[in-house]
Amino acid sequence: MERDDVIEYSLDTHHDEAHGKKLRKKIWQVTAILTVITAFEVGTGIVFKQSSEYWQVIKWMFICLTLVKAAYIVLVFMHLGDEKKTLKYIILVPYFIFVLYLIFISLWEGKAIDAALKLYGA
């Protein structure tokens, strides 16, 4: 069976050497960013212990840096940033709605159970 749809749209994505050079430069830039962020996270993790008074700040910084890393991977490495806007948001928006809801409901419930166990015993 002829797969005409596949061939048409894949051909669209071809590029020449000059454009390739630009893309590769971007790829190496992102590599450097991801590596530096990871090294920074590990360094901070070693210096600041969880008993540190700054821990809350550091914890949220780790989570934000993770989201930055994730954004680079999804938008650049997975080329979601180059896809049509509609596709991009069809992938991202439902996911974030579900996951944020799940995080909210689970952690809230987890804390409530924790409080109940502390009050009435395990």
Binding site: D5, V6, I7, E8, Y9, S10, L11, D12, T13, H14, H15, D16, E17, G20, L23, R24, I27, W28, T31, L34, T38, E41, V42, G45, I46, K49, Q50, S51, K59, F62, I63, T66, K69, A70, I73, V74, F77, M78, H79, E83, K84, T86, L87, I91, P94, Y95, F98, V99, L102, I103, S106, L107, E109, G110, K111, I113, D114, L117, K118, A122
Partner: protein, 340 residues
């Protein structure tokens, strides 16, 4: 029939008319849908981990205390090993995106080269994870100890010097042995409650005495409260720590010390911690494994020139999506299991 369309629709604006939704091929779109569902699975698992952590009644393990070893170099390197694993996976993600880029230029040699690099990176990661699991399962030299008052403490520092065999058996002859050589037998004897005055008998009948020294850096950290040490996180140092530790291992009761991890208990923290560790990193490792297998299959396709003949390397792009996703998941596992 109610009526006919008054305007004839241009064939090229129909799906069957060589136009795909979002100008993306069917295969790529379906890969994205699959990845969204898989991301929800991992999201669910990590959130379940968070839920359990929030209502755990005993203190949760700390990443840099639990994972502080390197192969061949021993302890004292917090998080370095996982950082290395993360780096390996990021690099293999980079080589994959370079393979995709080469594919867009119809550069068959380039695709071949970068696919090989990606597969090697994948195997390296799997090997690292195997070591990590083995280390996690076997545990530390000193384990988690239940003290006389019922509290439980983790141990750090150094106190075992070496072993002296005072009576030969058929496994060990008289003489002095390095700690590693007899540690396994020693742990067994401790678990069975058969150590008296730091002395035990091996399976082969050798009588062995542990030589220890009091080190001021030897430290017990209370993880579960008891009647005397009721504050979690309290640290006991030096001579007192030594006394409490040896009191426990010489008590003659079974299972006073926990070594490593299994599905029912572990030396690092609550049982659920070990369960989540095995399940989430295992499920991720399984994804890496299948990713490597898919990469190998596609790599053979590249070698045979299948995609070159087809006129495009979209198959490499689609496996690439999966491979990047595996890296993406690890970024989150790294943060929530090791960092915070």
């Amino acid at each position: 029939m109610a009526g006919h369309a008054t305007n004839q629709i241009d064939a090229s604006s129909l799906w069957g008319g060589k136009v795909s939704p979002f100008s993306t091929s069917y295969g790529k779109l379906m890969m994205w849908f699959f990845l969204v569902s898989d991301a929800l699975t991992f999201g669910g698992l990590l959130i379940a981990y968070g839920f359990t952590r929030h209502d755990a009644q005993i203190s949760w393990p700390i990443g840099e205390e639990t994972f502080n070893s390197l192969p061949f170099l021993g302890h004292g390197y917090p998080l370095i090993y996982v950082a290395l694993m993360t780096f390996i996976l990021i690099v293999s993600s980079v080589t994959m995106v370079l393979a995709v880029e080469a594919g867009h230029r119809m550069d068959r040699k380039g695709v071949t080269k970068w696919m090989i690099a990606t597969i090697i990176g994948g195997f390296f990661f799997l090997g690292s994870q195997a070591w990590e699991w083995s280390h996690f399962i076997h545990g530390s030299e000193y384990g988690k100890v239940e003290l006389a008052d019922g509290s439980k403490a983790t141990v750090s520092g150094h106190s075992f010097e070496n072993f002296t065999v005072t009576k030969s058996g058929h496994d060990f002859k008289k003489g002095t042995y390095e700690t590693e050589e007899l540690l396994h037998d020693f742990h067994h004897a401790i678990l069975a409650g058969k150590v008296k005055d730091n002395t035990f008998t091996t399976h082969g009948g050798a009588v062995v005495k542990l030589n220890s020294k009091v080190d001021e850096h030897f430290k017990l950290i209370i993880k579960e409260p008891g009647s005397k040490f009721s504050k979690v996180g309290k640290a006991i140092f030096g001579a007192e720590a030594n006394k409490l530790y040896y009191e426990a291992i010489n008590s003659g009761t079974k299972n006073r010390v926990t070594y490593g991890a299994n599905l029912t208990s572990n030396e690092y923290g609550p049982a659920q911690y070990g369960q989540f560790f095995f399940f989430i990193t295992g499920f991720h490792g399984f994804h890496v494994f299948s990713g490597v297998m898919i990469n190998i299959i596609i790599f053979f396709g590249v070698l045979r020139g299948v995609y070159h003949k087809r006129g495009h390397y979209e198959m490499v792009e689609k496996t690439g999506l999966y491979w990047h996703f595996v890296d993406l998941v690890w970024v989150f596992v790294f943060t929530f299991f090791y960092l915070v």
